[in-house]
């Protein structure tokens, strides 16, 4: 059943450039189908992500930029795996 869940039903991606989505409702751990363009891939979410928190849409290497709203919102301070929650434990302001 978890295989049927579509990430788009639970999250919003604010710009095509973004490598994170924002959870609109609490997102339970498990597999989600992520459709990008014509192709669909599976994203495994290892831990529950609370509404409002960010989920990585792709692997983001340490010190690489995180994009939301189409702009850089900070740099990864650890290797972030696709499906991970992105917050202050792995993201820092680049100001």
């Amino acid at each position: 059943m978890s295989q049927c869940r579509n990430l788009a039903d639970y999250t919003v991606i604010l710009s095509e450039k973004d490598n994170v989505a924002t959870a609109l409702v609490d997102l339970l751990a498990g597999d989600y189908i992520f459709s990008s363009g014509e192709s669909g891939t599976t994203i495994n979410v290892p831990e529950d992500i609370r509404a409002g928190f960010k989920i990585a849409l792709s692997d983001i290497s340490k010190s690489k930029p995180v994009y939301k709203y189409g702009y850089v919102i900070g740099l990864a301070i650890a290797d972030i795996k696709k499906g991970d929650c992105v917050h202050i434990h792995n993201l820092i302001s680049s100001v």
Binding site: V12, L14, T22, L24, V25, R50, A51, G52, F53, K54, K68, Y69, Y71, V72, I73, G74, V86, H87, I88, L91, I92, S93, S94, V95
Partner: protein, 387 residues
């Protein structure tokens, strides 16, 4: 000229108030007691007390003076009683001389000149009676909605602010600008990280340079204070809700400003000269930022919030818009409109229409949640030390 009319009090040509407040203000904190006594027997007046008015200097004194006088000058104010001590640096006469007396009655009392406490209260009550009579004769007339000045604020942002409440307010901003109104985007530190999104919308090179320089000033202040803005901005509550960095908060925050060009950079608490969208130099601190915009003449404030806040203003009605329904339900008597419905499928346009209709109602006399709760925070953004 738009065809949308509201009810307003004419102060002078093209300047209208949507309230007819009587303000009793201390010029210095030493006079707060008299203001507090007066309000005990006059519940219909707006008391304004504060911690300032003396032992500051230079540009900081100017900032205090222009904020105090600007607040009295707000077109929502119909009468003013100023209470001073007598030996302070910001005197009642300093303030009174900056208030445009068009459509207003201004009276002053100085504690040291009168001396006796009973006499002070008697004179204050007599002056208040005169002000009440003056204000009661003022009539409301039909006013073009384009004559409004509207301030924008967000406080206690959460990740939904940039998805629900702020985009809805952004559409309202676009509409107000189109109708000829002035809309103030505030909170310079909440533009950090959003520079490139703002820059392309500032046609005047000098205005652009001033705004960008001011954002840089704030970045420098963060660095001078230890280098990591976390714990300050985003505030702990923002982080708990899911906002990670100042850039993320800023990018969600400026969406309130819609898509119009930015025409002017306005100093804190000063009145905008341009119509359309302008930026005011205010800090992220909500009471200080709202106070600055109200002192700059904002008739009302659109205030979005994710974690919920009661903050209002003494003279400018604050319309509170929640970014999520959970908080709205928990704090419904502090909030006017729930933009969190957007998460459940309501269109952003529909919430924008709801906000716009609410603005018209508030102009015509409907009380906002902040007004009903007597939320009247007043805080001056000081730029120097107290000696």
């Amino acid at each position: 000229m738009s065809t949308i009319k509201i009810k307003g009090y004419l102060r002078r040509e093209n300047l209208f108030g949507i309230r007819n407040h009587i303000v009793v203000m201390s010029s210095v904190s030493c006079a707060n007691f008299v203001v507090e006594q007066i309000v005990k027997t006059n519940v219909d007046i707006i008391p304004i007390t504060h911690q300032h008015g003396c032992t500051h200097m230079g540009a900081d004194t100017e900032q205090v003076l222009s904020t105090l006088s600007g607040t009295c000058n707000n077109p929502n104010v119909g009468g003013v009683l100023l209470v001073g001590l007598g030996c302070e640096s910001v005197t009642v006469n300093n303030i009174a001389s900056r208030i445009d007396s068009g459509g207003k009655l201004i009276k002053t009392i100085v504690i040291q000149e009168i001396g006796d406490v009973r006499k002070i209260m008697d004179i204050a009550c007599d002056y208040l009676q005169q002000i009440k009579e003056f204000v009661s004769k003022q009539q409301r007339s039909d006013v073009d909605i384009g004559s409004l000045t509207v301030g924008l604020e967000c406080g206690g942002s959460d990740p939904f602010s940039g998805i629900t409440a702020n985009p809805a307010v952004g559409l309202v901003t676009d509409k107000l600008v189109e109708l000829g109104a002035t809309v103030i985007l505030s909170e310079i530190p909440e533009m950090i990280g959003a520079e490139s999104s703002l820059e392309s919308r500032i046609p005047d090179e000098a205005v652009k340079q001033r705004i960008m320089a001011r954002i840089k000033d704030y970045i420098q202040m963060i660095k001078d204070a230890g280098g990591d803005p976390r714990g300050c901005n985003p505030a702990p509550g923002n982080i708990k809700a899911g906002l990670s960095t100042i850039e993320e908060k800023s990018l969600g925050c400026i969406i309130k400003g819609g898509h119009s060009n930015i025409n002017e950079f306005v100093e804190y608490g000063r009145r905008p000269m341009c119509k359309g969208l302008v930026v005011m130099d205010t800090p992220g601190n909500d009471p200080e930022s709202v106070t600055g915009m109200a002192a700059g003449g904002a008739n009302l404030i659109l205030f979005t919030t994710g974690t919920g806040t009661p903050v209002g203003n003494p003279v400018s009605p604050v319309i509170k818009i929640s970014s999520n329904t959970k908080m709205y339900q928990r704090m419904s008597n502090f909030i006017d409109i729930d933009a969190g419905k957007i998460i459940g499928g309501t269109q952003v346009d529909a919430i924008a229409d709801e906000i716009f209709e609410f603005i018209i109602d508030v102009c015509n006399g409907r009380q906002t949640a902040a007004e009903l709760n007597n939320c009247r925070e007043f805080a001056v953004n000081r730029i120097g030390p107290t000696f």
